[in-house]
Subunit: 385 residues, 2 copies
């Protein structure tokens, strides 16, 4: 299963690269067969991000010596100093991607270069070291190739890929880490919200704000997530599954849980319009699924597709006037996730979960057909092996 | 050095407390004398938060079993799962406190109950487990007692104390960790900004915002710091030492680096006034030093002391009209730190670093005199041993 090109002989001295690591210097240390985990035998047993494969990709950096060579090693816990910057100042970023077992048995990545580019932008925002995203993608593909048997083969399952990059310097000064660790772990997953795709219920409370202009909400910093955990708990206390994040005095809708959000409505001009909040305020994560939904629906050319501010007032008015057709979240984990209900100002708004056109379901099919290799679309998929 | 009451015999089964851990159940495992580190012999060698003592306090929690008994163990690295919540979602909080070697040789903590209360509030904001802050303070005092020889005895030195609490569950779902680790490490420190107290230069750029209403800026979440690192780098590129954080379209001044900020000026009514931004917007960390400066200056009763919004426009106008008397930062690490210059809109504003009254120097003396036991003030210090 492991191609020989990956078995680069271990050199006595590690090559040091100041500007980037190189995939050609990747070293592989395989997990002994008798120490490998049992792979899941039932798709219903797959819980999101709880089971990990047998190997991980690990690349270390120091300010003094630059990048070490990349390594694929047996999956293992890390040793971390109690004063590590990642713990104390949240100097950590991540990405979310998936590898899909296609109908032809081949393993595909979906627009991975977009994730790699965003990972690099996040690293810059978090004052972590720079690297060549193409080299990281090559290393990541080698990891997927080694873990090919971990890519599940049931409907709606995939191998979730989690690139992570954290500051590890053991010092409490509030400044960028002079040591850091980039790594990638992978986990076989089913559908994010369980086994069935059901419309989610949302809690919208303008007192809590996910991101703001001049902050880091448009990058995938770990720091964006901690403050959302207790608000998610409030949503659950209100009988809702996720938070609908609002921003500003006009209650602009921005994101849903950890997904981008789309509203499909008949606008005040009587046109059908698919709306998602714009990126220019810096409060929206530029999602790969978001971008894919925009590209696909623009190509359909059946309704207006618009990146613009949309407020709760507009959504509520459209709801009242029966012009609200559909709402859905979009993200790597859930792909497309219809919204069934919004609790706002102690009032429940029932959202038509499927319009006649059933945009969210059509998008889910379109995107997953591309991901699982049923249809080809542009260069959106890359075959790994 | 270690009192016998701390040597609680190790029980076979750990006591489990669902609501809090108890100091009376603290177990101590001492570091063998031959494995202890050399203590610093020169105050100039002390770099902030780089050298740690021989022991740490460690307390673990699981949703299933509640709190384990607290333990003091030899200082050591931790084992962490690569999917740990602290790394991926920055579910981590901390505190900053100091233990001072007084003029009488006794070791004092400065208003530690205020830090413990804030630590508990931060835990709630970050969806970490609750605990009794008094019990944590008792455990922390036992750690300081064991590490008494690590509290340095030179002027302006102290033992910096870093309580930390992080989510450790190895699962990638964005929800609160069902396992977590509270620990305390201590580090002998000198003056935060080096050996001399010199006025700092600040870069003020309204494009970057530290905290916003509805976020977590008023709690001590690790997540508040990561986004500031690259802005700090921009400040250094502009030849400044720290960031002056602004907020809102009216450019309210909010914090300095990781400190609270004070402005001493003659206001438009011709009155002398000490101003610090108010806590009610949720964008200011409620600093213990901030609160102490307010209490002390209110008791002086020599000028108006006000918690109110103050904008760059007001500061610049006061500067122009020679009404700006002093500005300074206030925080645990630096205590009181005069501000010498602000770069704003590509213009340098030189701030009188010491007024005739020399408020910042007077405050530094007043507070450190209390901290080092030269003077008594209310119940602000607690003798550890």
């Amino acid at each position: 299963m492991v191609s020989s090109f990956m078995r680069v002989s271990r050199r006595l001295l590690s090559t040091v690269n100041t500007s980037t690591f190189k995939a050609e210097n990747l070293r592989v240390t395989l997990c002994p067969p008798d120490q490998r985990k049992r792979k899941p035998t039932d798709p219903n047993s797959l819980q999101f991000g709880k089971l990990f494969s047998d190997h991980l990709l690990s690349i270390k950096w120091t300010q003094k010596n630059g990048w070490n060579d990349p390594e694929i090693i047996p999956f293992q816990n890390f040793t971390i100093h109690p004063a590590s910057k990642a713990i104390h100042y949240a100097q950590s970023i991540f990405e979310g991607m998936k590898a899909f077992r296609g109908v032809d048995g081949k393993i595909r990545l979906f627009r991975p270069e977009a994730n790699m580019a965003r990972f690099l932008r996040s690293a810059e925002r978090a004052s972590l070291a720079s690297f060549d995203p193409d080299e990281l993608l090559k290393c990541l593909k080698k990891l997927i190739t080694i873990e090919a048997d971990w890519v599940p083969n049931w409907e709606f399952t995939s191998l979730y890929i989690r690139p992570t990059f954290m500051g590890t310097e053991p010092a409490l000064g509030v400044n960028p880490s002079i040591e850091s660790h980039l790594y990638v772990i992978v986990s076989p997953v089913g559908c994010y919200f369980g086994t069935k795709i059901e419309p989610v219920s949302l809690y919208a409370d303008p007192r809590w704000v996910r991101a703001w202009p001049g902050g880091a909400g448009s990058s995938k910093l770990s720091a964006n997530y901690a403050p959302t955990l207790s608000i998610q708990k409030k949503a659950e206390e209100k009988g809702c599954q996720q938070v609908l994040w609002l921003y500003g005095e006009d209650h602009q809708i921005t994101e849903v849980g950890a997904m981008n959000v789309f509203v499909y409505l008949i606008n005040e001009q009587g046109e059908k319009e698919l709306v998602t909040p714009p990126l220019n305020q810096g409060v929206i994560l530029p999602g790969v699924t978001r971008d894919s939904v925009l590209a696909v629906t623009r190509e359909w050319n059946q309704f207006k597709v618009n990146e613009r501010i949309i407020t709760m007032k507009e959504v509520c008015k459209a709801h009242e006037e029966k012009r609200l057709l559909e709402m859905f979240g979009a993200g790597t984990a859930a792909v497309v996730c219809p919204i069934g209900r919004i609790n706002f100002n102690n009032k429940d708004y029932l959202i038509p979960s499927e319009s006649k056109e059933n945009i969210s379901h059509r998008l889910l099919t379109t995107l997953t057909d591309i991901q699982y290799g049923k249809t080809e679309y542009k260069n959106w998929t890359q075959i790994v092996c």
